[in-house]
């Protein structure tokens, strides 16, 4: 992802949206259902989702656990992600890296990822190798054995990862502060990778307890996409995953946000910065937080405001007023907790950050007083819906979308009905969503700047 984001600035908003669609949550609509998945549940409570795509004899096999960084105990930040790395270490049956060796020997690719709300492991393999990865993935759900000799080098790897992703990048350092300021009480305030001092302090005992608590079939979702049907998968799922005993019933209890009344400002001056940037993030409703009727209108609003080269922000700040090199917006309401609605812009050479802020506020003020147009709403809806067809073309998009939805508390029907939900969004709904969310008292404004001598 790091390299993929090095692109032309004018596509930043689009790239952001694309990455978001594919990595954070659901795709999109068209007419009727999106992915047409088949689903069933094993006797031990493990959900199974199958998305058929028969172009090549390949399958993507994913197991999603309903645990993410926001489920970590206070003081234990980073453990969900740390544990994700440790899942590659070994079991009595597949010890010492044999998991990855076996995947590779069978021509497979694999990886894993951790977010605030889930942790997922996946392999892409030829269809006739599916049972091999299923056996190994099922095995490590409960049979992992860890030693300090494995954990300590991995802790160093994770500290290097933190260094590479955050400490080497002033914009990322600032984003950690934005998160901590925006969420006053919800655990989304902590970075997924964790705070360095807490990563250093995680003990073997913490790690073992985390594994025992969260890794169980009744807290997991199996998603297989590609050249397969549910009828073919079911016997394999029962054989490999169905035999794992159900764990205790789990609930995800997280502190939530109090009312927010004061606008917050964060500013980072760093001698490494050469290109300043400005952003404002508002606390926003999601399916499970706040006024969730605004979720779909906010998706349309984000497209109108900052979705591409003809959006309000880009057309005004970048094209007409020539103040910025990039400008856009983002919204993600698909998480289990509160959402963010964000606006960002980065100045052209010689333009001050205050000018950028004023220009963004003008764009917002115009919507506040005059609203959006029916034409803008119709066009945004059509654009969003066209993406559904493209999503179906991708081997992984369906697996990603359905897995993240189910792991974040949503249902298959929520993903599949997305086209109709977007279609139903009206202009007044977009305007009332705007009014509900663009409240300065529940926002954080961030400025990334060079040090004075570098300006």
């Amino acid at each position: 992802m790091k390299t993929a984001l090095v692109g032309r600035l004018k596509h930043h908003a689009a790239a952001f949206a694309a990455v978001f669609l594919f990595f954070a949550a659901y795709p999109n609509p068209g007419s009727g259902a999106v992915f047409n998945p088949e689903t069933f549940t094993l006797a031990n409570g493990m959900q199974v989702v199958v998305v058929s795509n028969h172009r090549v004899p390949v399958v993507v096999h994913m197991v999603w656990y309903k645990v993410g960084a926001a489920d970590e105990a206070p003081g234990k930040s980073g453990i969900a992600h740390f544990f994700e790395h440790l899942m590659f270490k070994g079991t009595p049956k597949f010890p010492d890296g044999l998991f990855s060796q076996t995947v590779a020997r069978n021509g497979g690719r694999e990886n894993a990822f951790t977010s605030t709300d889930y942790t997922a492991y996946f392999q892409t393999v030829a269809k006739d190798r599916l049972k091999i990865v299923m056996e190994m993935e099922a095995d490590r759900m409960t049979n992992l054995v860890l030693t300090p000799e494995q954990v300590e080098p991995e802790r160093r790897v994770i500290l290097e990862e933190r260094s590479q992703r955050v400490e080497s990048d002033p914009a990322s350092i600032l984003q950690e502060h934005v998160g901590a300021a925006l969420f006053m009480n919800h655990p989304y305030r902590r970075p997924v990778i964790g705070w360095e001092h807490e990563i250093r302090a995680l003990s073997m005992e913490d790690i073992t307890q985390f594994y025992k608590r969260w890794y169980a079939p009744n807290n997991a979702i199996l998603v297989v996409a590609g050249d397969i049907t549910a009828a073919e998968l079911r016997p394999l799922a029962e054989k490999y995953y169905g035999v794992i005993p159900r764990g205790p019933k789990l609930t995800r209890e997280r502190p939530t946000e109090p009312p927010q009344r004061a606008a917050r400002q964060v500013e980072l001056r760093d001698e490494r910065v050469r290109q300043p940037s400005w952003s404002r993030v508002f606390l926003a409703p999601s399916h499970f937080f706040g006024a969730s009727e605004h979720v779909y209108p906010l998706e349309v609003l984000s497209d109108i405001l900052g979705g591409g080269a003809t959006s309000r922000l880009y057309a005004n700040l970048v094209v007409k007023q020539k103040l910025a090199v990039s400008a856009g917006s983002f919204y993600g309401g698909r998480g289990l907790g509160p959402a963010r609605f964000g606006i960002f812009a980065s100045p052209r050479s010689g333009v001050g950050i205050d000018q950028i802020e004023a220009a963004v506020e003008d764009v917002l003020e115009k919507i506040r007083t005059s609203g959006v147009t029916d034409d803008e709403v119709a066009r945004a809806k059509a654009r969003i819906q066209a993406q559904a067809v493209y999503a179906r073309d991708s081997l992984r998009a369906g697996a990603r979308s359905l897995g993240s939805a189910l792991a974040s508390g949503r249902r298959v029907e929520d993903v599949e009905s997305w086209p109709e939900r977007i279609e139903a969004v009206s202009r007044p709904a977009v305007e009332s969503a705007f009014a509900a969310v663009m409240v300065e008292g529940s926002s954080v404004t961030a400025r990334l700047l060079p040090t004075e001598e570098n300006m």
């Binding site: 790091k2 390299t3 600035l9 004018k10 596509h11 954070a24 028969h54 172009r55 090549v56 004899p57 390949v58 992600h81 890296g97 990855s100 995947v103 590779a104 020997r105 069978n106 021509g107 690719r109 694999e110 894993a112 990822f113 951790t114 977010s115 605030t116 892409t124 006739d128 190798r129 080098p153 802790r155 160093r156 790897v157 994770i158 290097e160 992703r165 400490e167 080497s168 990048d169 997924v192 990778i193 001698e271 490494r272 290109q275 979705g307 591409g308 080269a309 003809t310 057309a315 094209v319 020539k322 090199v325 963010r340 980065s346 654009r383 066209a386 993406q387 493209y390 073309d393 991708s394």
Partner: protein, 443 residues
């Protein structure tokens, strides 16, 4: 937001070269490549697939940023940003709005050796999509507003890259390896060069560089060969038959054996390294490819991964990749490690280089690598656009239209003796060039 992968993808480097289809376990490829030649003589390779109402096209003109004139480096890159910023009767906003409203993706990108484009559309908007592509290639406007906007955006990108230790290191490495060759210069140019590019330069680029000779086209999706043939003439038929010669001098990466340090205030040192490699048409290409996979290739199994990351926890990412360009072969790698451990990481990479040069891989490593490389081909075919990119690469590299069916046999034919010989001849631990950006101790 806040999604972390176990590893950063190395696919960016590998994607160009690891193309492909599963031969095994199923034997034949599931995809049939057709050669389509238009009445006007324009050729495209097509995989017809009517499953979804989508058409994906990729194409590339031979000759990229390598041909940018002295003092105007970054020309190809600036043009690539401007072709979809207004053409014919449509100004920039009108053109972009047409693309956005119909959910058409149309983009161009400048590489070192090629100037490429991509188009993706729903079938229902096919004719409009091809028409917009035609306009962008034949009557781009280069209005002052988008020219200055894109210029300012590229300058901002250059400033951002100047903040990024890894990018600083890569630029320095290429400059060191290719001191007197276009490969030593960044595709996006420099502040001064980008500022010097005029509208005439942009128009001259289109007139001289976008020609039918040296054009490779790949198409995947919901379109018949007959319909495609007609569209090919509509889109590319008006381009001149011949353009500027795209060939540049052959280059050999410099053999320095040095470790160059650029001091920057950052807790982690970005490390990159490189040496002579092989070009795509080299008889030992596949042996080198297998060799590199064992030494530093993707996944969680390479020697560098094991020695640097798994055993010692020195880095989150460490890799090496074959980087075959049209006029030079290169092996390129990188890592990122805390400043105190940078010297150690450099030492380990060099030691692993030497160990491989001295004794090659084991028989088991070779078997594993062959199994991975042959078995994983089909995994690349995960979307229409990615398959179309493969079709273009096959043409640019002159691999033959039946390459997908033959490719695994090339990998399987690589013997232990081949890999040992290539390891000995190619890997040059004492000639390897390192660039380290950060505050590395002991370097």
């Amino acid at each position: 937001m806040g999604i972390l992968n176990k590893t950063i993808s190395m696919a960016v480097f590998l994607a160009f070269f690891c193309i492909f289809l599963l031969g095994r376990p199923h034997g034949a490829t599931a995809l049939e490549v057709q050669r389509v030649v238009s009445p006007g003589g324009i050729e495209a390779w097509l995989i017809e697939d009517h499953t979804n109402p989508i058409i994906a096209m990729r194409f590339a003109f031979r000759g990229g940023a390598n041909l940018d004139p002295a003092g105007k480096q970054g020309l190809a890159n600036l043009v690539s940003g401007l072709l979809d910023e207004g053409a014919g009767p449509l100004d920039s906003q009108a053109f972009q709005q047409r693309l956005e409203d119909l959910a058409i993706t149309l983009r161009f990108d400048a590489g070192r050796d090629t100037f490429g484009g991509r188009l993706r559309t729903l079938t229902v908007n096919r004719d409009t999509a091809f028409d917009l592509l035609t306009k962008s290639l034949t009557v781009p406007r280069f209005d002052a507003e988008p020219v200055e906007r894109l210029r300012s955006q590229i300058l901002a990108t250059l400033r951002r890259e100047a903040e990024d230790p890894d990018m600083i290191a890569r630029r320095k490495l290429f400059a060191t390896l290719f001191p007197d060759h276009p490969y030593g210069r960044p595709v996006s140019g420099s502040k001064e060069a980008v500022a010097a590019i005029s509208a005439d330069d942009l128009r001259g680029f289109v007139a001289r560089r976008l020609a039918r000779e040296g054009l490779a086209i790949g198409v995947v999706g919901d379109i018949s060969p007959t319909r495609l043939a007609t569209s090919l003439d509509n889109v590319f038929g008006a381009l001149p038959a011949k353009g500027t010669d795209w060939r540049v001098a052959e280059a050999k990466p410099a053999r320095t054996g040095t470790t160059e340090v650029i001091r920057k205030p950052t807790p982690q040192s970005a490390i990159v390294f490189g040496q002579r490699g092989v070009k795509r048409d080299n008889a030992d290409y596949y042996a080198a490819y297998v060799l590199n996979h064992i030494l530093g290739g993707g996944g969680f199994t390479s020697r560098l991964y094991n020695e640097v990351r798994e055993k010692r926890g020195l880095a989150y990412s460490v890799y090496a990749a074959l980087y075959p360009m049209d006029f030079a072969g290169l092996i390129f790698g990188g890592s990122g490690t805390r400043n105190e451990a940078a010297a150690k990481t450099v030492e380990i990479v060099r030691a692993q280089w030497k160990r491989m040069a001295d004794s090659g891989p084991t028989a088991e490593e070779l078997t594993d690598a062959r199994q991975f490389l042959t078995g994983s081909f089909a995994l690349r075919f995960s979307s229409s656009a990615r398959i179309a990119a493969v079709l273009v690469a096959m043409q640019l590299d002159d691999l033959g239209i039946d390459y997908l069916d033959r490719r695994n046999a090339f990998i399987d034919a690589v013997t232990l003796d081949d890999v040992r010989r290539v390891a000995r001849d190619l890997l040059d631990p004492n000639g390897l060039t390192f660039v380290v950006v950060g505050q590395p101790n002991g370097l």
